[in-house]
């Protein structure tokens, strides 16, 4: 099959197809994932080819979807569950946090719950309330869960394979506004480990750390900064739990400056954790405090305001300037 250029949504679709073909225990579950192929068509065609026994249209009940997926996993299945939108995960939050995350520990290792929860997340598509949120920190904070987010088609494909094959529950955040962005997927590649960060662009003056939808913005910011003679490195974290702090440390020890960018509110967000740990690890290397760019401590605004709310090129470049000014 070698290399194909695919949009992220299609890469995930191909990955789910591969998983269904390779392992009869893999199931797809969620609202509208069957006949419709998902509201973003990520599961398009799977129902037709694998049938309702493998691709399960569920009642409209998020706690029920995750709770029954746990039961199916206890029976030896490997469910891949779709939560239709980020803001709809909260009815299932209890099952995810009190059951899915903790049952392995509660059972002293006797129970494994290989459940993947796919959540299309983030803004930028002009949606209504509850369709644009970035709740990754709420999940990364919970021991027992792994949290990842691809930023390109190759990662979208391979990280899904790894998430399904692993024995831990994984929250797989899909950057919905990048669903249609195309890039190469090498189907014969040996993928990087699921939680390994990737240097998306080399640089020497400052490190931008991001994941999911913000990687693209950071790459654009680095390109713009280069025009002003500044060499900005971009690290795509790929995983928010665990975070590859070793890779980040290597980058920061080289560039001596770090700006963390995410769509989620800055307050108690992933950036806070990264700033604290990198400060501990790189205190004597840093030339400036770790800065954060992200959402505000406010509900995600109506669509007409989201461009103000979301970190864009200008806000990222402003943070780059502030960091370099120290």
């Amino acid at each position: 099959m070698a290399v194909k250029k695919l949009p992220i949504a299609k890469a995930i679709n191909e990955s789910l197809r591969t998983a269904l073909e390779n392992d009869p225990k893999v199931l797809i579950m969620g609202e509208d994932v069957g006949q419709l192929g998902g509201v973003f068509r990520v599961t398009d065609g799977l129902f037709k080819d694998f049938g309702e026994g493998r691709v399960i249209d569920t009642p409209l009940a998020e706690s029920g979807i995750v709770g029954t997926a746990i039961g199916l996993a206890l029976r030896g299945y490997r469910p891949v569950v779709e939560i239709q939108f980020d803001g709809f995960v909260f009815p299932a939050y209890d099952q995810i946090v009190t059951q899915l995350a903790k049952m392995h520990a509660r059972s002293l290792g006797k129970i494994k719950l290989p459940v993947v929860i796919r959540i299309p997340y983030g803004g930028g598509i002009g949606a209504v309330e509850h369709h644009s949120e970035s709740p990754e920190a709420l999940f990364a904070h919970v021991a027992g869960l792994k949290v990842v987010s691809p930023s390109n088609a190759s990662d979208a494909y391979w990280m899904m394979q790894q998430a399904i094959q692993g024995d831990d529950p994984v929250i797989y955040f899909e950057p919905k506004r990048r669903y249609w962005d195309k890039s190469d997927v090498d189907f014969d590649a040996i993928p990087a480990p699921l939680h390994k960060a990737r240097v998306a662009r080399e640089g020497t003056d400052l490190t931008l750390a991001a994941y999911g939808p913000m990687v693209k913005v950071c790459l654009e910011a680095a390109a713009a900064a280069a025009e002003e003679g500044r060499s900005v490195e971009v690290v795509d974290l790929r995983s928010m739990s665990p975070i590859d702090f070793d890779a980040l440390q290597t980058s920061v020890e080289k560039t001596r400056r770090l700006v963390v960018v995410h769509e989620a509110p800055v307050f108690y967000g992933a950036g806070a954790e990264i700033a604290a740990r990198i400060t501990e690890r790189c205190f004597y290397h840093l030339e400036a405090p770790v800065l954060r760019v992200g959402g505000y401590h406010a509900p995600y605004p109506p669509a007409r305001l989201e461009e103000e709310y979301l970190p864009g090129l200008d806000r990222v470049l402003d943070a780059v300037d502030r960091s370099l000014a120290y």
Binding site: P59, S63, T68, H104, R106, G166, D168, H195
Partner: protein, 391 residues
């Protein structure tokens, strides 16, 4: 055998309709009840009198009956011992099942080995039926673990503290059983308070839609900590099943025979691929919700006294004595066994080792996690620093 979803409104068939009932007509009375009394399936009255029911009949040997009695007495003894151990400071907390022995032993003995049980945190009697060593149930209450047994050794899932969560796990598991083409069934235990939870309603929805082989066994013990059932529901609980499209039945939860018969019928129905059943075992929690609670603040003594007259163990004993199904030697033997169990439990709890400190970091993830590894190493180094100081 059929499960009647509309029992409260449908005229009953005459007791002679069932072959088994007809066979017994000479020796047993048909149950009679006032029209406003809740519709209960009953086979053994509080007075220890054997009665018949047209839909649920059961034929037990004297040995089997003695076995049920033994299970109930030993479960009660275990429960009493655990309550005492909590009072003595050996357990941090205990959730007593006192009064619910018939509901748990009756339903528990209806199960086949390959059935799977999803309990709440009070199913000590069901655990007993599944062969889980009772001392293993105490680890979580002593604070040495969150489980204490391998769920797959006895097909008995770990206790679930969050109210109603396990009903969805049971439903998902049952969906898997159906996918596998197996003919085993799944049973989910929960209480009357849990019936107010969304997860329970969602499990009803999913199990009905996917025709999952699951039995929902609700022990309506009348109180959710201090909240009476009137604060949880306005219609009899078993009737709720009808709205989801599967049968519900209310059984006398203090009648071990009726609980056995009704659960067996529901499990068989599930095995036949006919989907879920809701069983409401109408019973009473004689003690507190847990040892932290004080029921004298919210309920009257008279209520407890009224239920004491319906004691599930006493009625079996009365029946056995009356019918000559057990002699004094049997009851003495059970009493001695009971004492031995109490002693064993007491000793096991007192000698239960604290977990290794490093257990904090064990089993957080199946495949490992860099942060856990880092914190484990930091913690180990911190611990080791004390040893060095001590040199």
């Amino acid at each position: 055998m059929t499960v009647d979803s509309t029992a409260a409104r449908k005229p009953r068939r005459s007791s002679g309709a069932s072959g088994a009932a007809a066979k017994r007509a000479g020796t047993k009375k048909a149950a009679t009840k006032a029209p406003d009394e809740p519709q209960l399936v009953q086979l053994l009255t509080p007075e220890g009198e054997r009665v018949t029911h047209p839909d649920y009949e059961i034929d037990l040997s004297a040995d089997e009956l003695r076995g049920l009695y033994r299970d109930m007495v030993l479960t009660r003894r275990f429960d009493a011992e655990a309550t005492s151990l909590q009072r003595q400071g050996e357990l941090g907390l205990w959730a007593s099942l006192l009064g619910q022995e018939a509901a748990q032993i009756g339903s528990g003995r209806a199960l086949r080995d390959d059935d799977y049980v999803f309990p709440t945190y009070r199913e000590h009697g069901v655990a007993w039926c599944r062969g889980v060593d009772p001392t293993n149930l105490l680890g979580m209450f002593r604070g040495v673990n969150h489980g204490g047994w391998d769920p797959n050794s006895n097909n008995f899932h770990l206790y679930t503290i969050v109210i109603g969560s396990q009903t969805l796990h049971a439903t998902g598991y049952a969906m898997g059983v159906a996918k596998d083409g197996a003919d085993s069934a799944v049973i989910a235990y929960f209480g009357d308070g849990a019936s107010s939870q969304g997860d329970v309603a969602e499990s009803f929805t999913f199990s009905a839609v996917y025709n999952a082989p699951v039995v929902f066994f609700c022990q309506n013990n009348q109180w959710a900590i201090s909240e009476p059932t009137e604060k949880q529901m306005r219609v009899p609980l078993y009737q709720r099943a009808q709205g989801f499209g599967f049968p519900g039945v209310r059984v006398d939860g203090n009648d071990v025979l009726a609980c056995l018969a009704v659960t067996k019928a529901a499990l068989e129905r599930a095995r036949r691929g006919e989907g879920p059943t809701l069983v409401e075992a109408f019973t009473y929690r004689m003690g507190a919700h847990t040892t932290t609670d004080d029921p004298t603040r919210y309920r009257a003594d008279e209520e407890r006294e009224a239920w004491e007259a319906k004691d599930p163990i006493l009625r079996v004993r009365t029946y056995m004595e009356k019918e000559g199904l057990a002699d004094a030697a049997f009851f003495e033997e059970i009493e001695a066994e009971s004492e031995a169990l109490g002693k064993r439990v007491r000793e096991a709890v007192r000698s239960m080792p604290d977990p290794d400190t490093m257990a904090i970091f064990e089993n957080v993830y199946a495949d490992g996690h860099a942060l856990v590894d880092e914190e484990r190493a930091q913690f180990a180094a911190y611990q080791a620093s004390f040893a060095e100081e001590g040199k």
